[in-house]
């Protein structure tokens, strides 16, 4: 290691866990609900169509925004917890 005094290994692991979790949600709403699983959601009506259509045209975009802000907020906490944040 290159001589830092913080817990680099665990910081990186925590980051990877967070990314992994976020990407599961990312894939679920877009590739899942909006495309591949759409037939399974066909029974849930929403304004003249079904939930899968809503995810394809609105729901996934709203989820993406929430994911990024959640990630940024959690990472800032992690940066401080592991003391790797910038002054």
């Amino acid at each position: 290691m290159s001589g830092h005094d913080y817990d680099a290994v665990n910081y990186w692991k925590a980051n990877l866990r967070l990314i992994f979790g976020s990407l599961i949600v990312w894939a679920l709403v877009s590739y899942g609900f909006a495309i591949l699983l759409r037939p399974m959601l066909a029974g849930i009506p929403i304004g003249g169509t079904d939930l899968g259509f809503w995810f394809a045209q609105q729901g996934s975009i709203l989820t993406f925004i929430a994911l990024i802000f959640h990630y940024a907020w959690r990472m800032n906490k992690l940066d401080e917890k592991f003391d790797v944040h910038e002054e």
């Binding site: 169509t49 045209q57 993406f64 990024i68």
Partner: protein, 588 residues
């Protein structure tokens, strides 16, 4: 005041604003020219990324494609927003920590190889030039209609304007002009949408209007639309798609292409801190979502309005007389983007789907073929006219469409010029070049890129959004994997990265060229670009995702068969993973 004068006023006024800002912020040193001195607030930066991002493809072209394809073209909506999740988590913070000017610079340093940097420059130029072709095509459409000149003249005017302010302002000019452009384009996009949503559904918020009740029929608006278009032989708007493999791959291509496009990544070098890079990605997506949540409403409502215009008494009655066609059809006919042929010579405009299934219905109604061809790229621009909105709304949308096309073209030109002057010339051909010489090289490369893109933009290989989608495929297959492996793997080495980028790029380009023509020159394609000819049903627009997988696989295999990267490179990878110690992007 005539509509022409109003258009001129809005377009001229907004241009004066952008050029004024560009001159006010005229770049001083090379550092200012590329990264705006590194001191831009995340929200400001988010708005600038939004303008940079939302191009002619998003503004002018996308809703037209959704209107035509319905659910199937939701891919554009998800693809062009979902990439920001990847950017925020997989690339932006680490590249900001690395703290250099350009994408090839990171690749060159991380893979400790001038050749890797050169290959990255090539990938960047191919992707960006393809992207600019799409912008020029879109800007040409907008100019030709609103300045009432022919398409070629529109293209030339667009090229001159882009060149002037990209060259004058550099990035700093562009950051602030782009904030102004964001404001113009989002106002221009949403105001007509609000009016139309109110007219059709009584709901002032277009994204809610999309799922509301159609005032005239009392049915949900999407049901009404499905009914109208299926009566005319078209597919249901909300119909599911059979070829899900292609839909998934296309969405994935757009997403990873988003994260691999240098003109967006370069934006994250301009924030002061690593944490700000994450926030910037979030804010950018908020600004982008304002348009992307409005677009599907615009698409379905414009399609319904178009159908009601042609069939005012309903689809079972006769369509309108050609001689009584509304003014907007007359005006778009001048540009050649709407064409009418009276096939059954009854003087009426029959607009329907010429499919084998609908043939008997058409025959029984005395129709002899679809008579109205509407270019999909005009839908958003014609939208306010179709809905009979006041003249100033039409002027506003002209200004907005041009803001979108020009801001993105300028951002791309900046990425191209910095790759040429900084990475190619200073980085390898002539390291002793003076600051003045570097700026000159940057400007010359911008000029060359504009000339090439304008030339190819005159005969684009598809609608604006489709050309742009090809650029995403190229970025997805070449740059994204190299960047991601550079951060997340310590094992991938110089040989592996170069082999990966080259095979990814070559694979993707050849698949595209086979269907779209070599170097996009019309008529040089080997196979017709139709679904029957696609391998496993994968369209040339969707191939970038496969190219990216090829890139990753080749890079891992080659790297594992060759030597580990040196210790100092492994330490470099280690250091980009932790925010502490990030310095401003610096000259060196």
């Amino acid at each position: 005041m005539s509509q022409f004068a109003i258009n001129l006023l809005f377009v001229g006024g907004s241009f004066a604003l952008y050029i004024g800002i560009a001159i006010w912020a005229k770049a001083g040193s090379t550092s200012d020219f590329y990264v705006a001195g590194g001191g831009v607030h995340p929200i400001t930066n988010g708005a600038a990324i939004g303008a940079d991002w939302m191009s002619a493809a998003s503004f002018i072209s996308m809703a037209g494609l959704i209107a035509a394809g319905g659910y199937a073209n939701s891919t554009f909506l998800m693809g062009w927003t979902g990439g920001y999740v990847l950017l925020a988590m997989l690339l932006a913070p680490y590249l900001r920590k690395f703290g250099k000017f350009t994408v090839p610079e990171f690749i060159g340093d991380r893979f400790y190889s001038k050749n890797a940097r050169l290959v990255a420059v090539i990938c960047l130029i191919v992707a960006s030039v393809t992207y600019v072709i799409g912008q020029m095509a879109g800007a040409g459409v907008a100019f030709s209609r609103f300045l009432e000149v022919d398409a070629t003249m529109g293209l030339i005017i667009a090229a001159i304007v882009v060149f002037v302010y990209a060259v004058l302002g550099g990035m700093k000019g562009i950051t602030y002009t782009q904030v102004a452009q964001y404001c113009v384009l989002i106002t221009a996009y949403t105001i007509p949408a609000v009016f139309i949503s109110l007219q059709l559904t009584g709901n002032a918020l277009p994204p809610l209007g999309l799922f509301s009740t159609h005032v005239d029929s009392g049915m949900p608006i999407l049901d009404k639309l499905n009914q109208v278009i299926t009566d005319l032989g078209f597919n249901e708007y909300t119909a599911d798609v059979d070829n899900k493999l292609n839909m998934v791959l296309f969405t994935l291509t757009l997403m990873i292409g988003t994260a691999g496009l240098p003109h967006v990544i370069i934006r994250f070098f301009t924030v002061p801190k690593v944490a700000d890079a994450r926030w910037s990605a979030g804010w950018a997506l908020v600004f982008i979502a304002l348009l992307y949540l409005t677009a599907p409403a615009v698409a379905s409502m414009a399609r319904l309005n178009l159908m009601t215009t042609i069939y005012p008494e309903g689809t079972q009655a006769e369509p309108i007389q050609y001689d009584e066609r509304p003014n907007w059809i007359r005006e778009w006919e001048v540009t050649g983007l709407i064409q009418f042929t009276d096939k059954n010579e009854d003087g009426r405009i029959q607009l329907y789907n010429d499919s084998p299934e609908f043939e008997s219905t058409a025959q029984s109604r005395g129709w002899e073929g679809n008579e109205l061809v509407v270019n999909r790229d005009i839908l958003v621009l014609a939208n306010p006219e179709i809905a009979n909105l006041p003249g100033w709304v039409i002027g506003l949308i002209a200004a907005g469409g041009l803001a979108a096309a020009l801001s993105t073209a300028a951002g791309l030109l900046l990425a191209i010029s910095s790759a040429v002057s900084h990475d190619l010339i200073k980085g390898s051909i002539n390291p002793n070049i003076t600051e003045k010489g570097e700026l000159m090289a940057a400007r010359i490369s911008m000029a060359v890129a504009i000339v090439v893109a304008t030339y190819l933009g005159a005969n684009p290989p598809g609608f604006a959004a489709q050309v742009v989608a090809l650029a995403f495929g190229i970025a997805a297959a070449s740059l994204f994997p190299a960047l991601m492996m550079g951060i997340f793997s310590k094992r991938v080495n110089n040989v592996g990265a170069i082999a990966g980028m080259l095979t990814g790029l070559a694979f993707t380009l050849s698949y595209i060229f086979v269907y779209k023509g070599w170097l996009f020159i019309p008529g040089t394609n080997n196979l017709a670009d139709t679904p029957e000819n696609w391998v496993l049903g994968i369209s040339p627009l969707s191939i970038g995702a496969i190219g990216a997988i090829v890139n990753f696989a080749v890079a891992f295999i080659v790297s594992n068969a060759t030597e580990e990267p040196p210790v100092e490179i492994q330490e470099l990878v280690e250091s980009v993973r932790y925010p502490r110690g990030a310095s401003q992007a610096h000259d060196h």
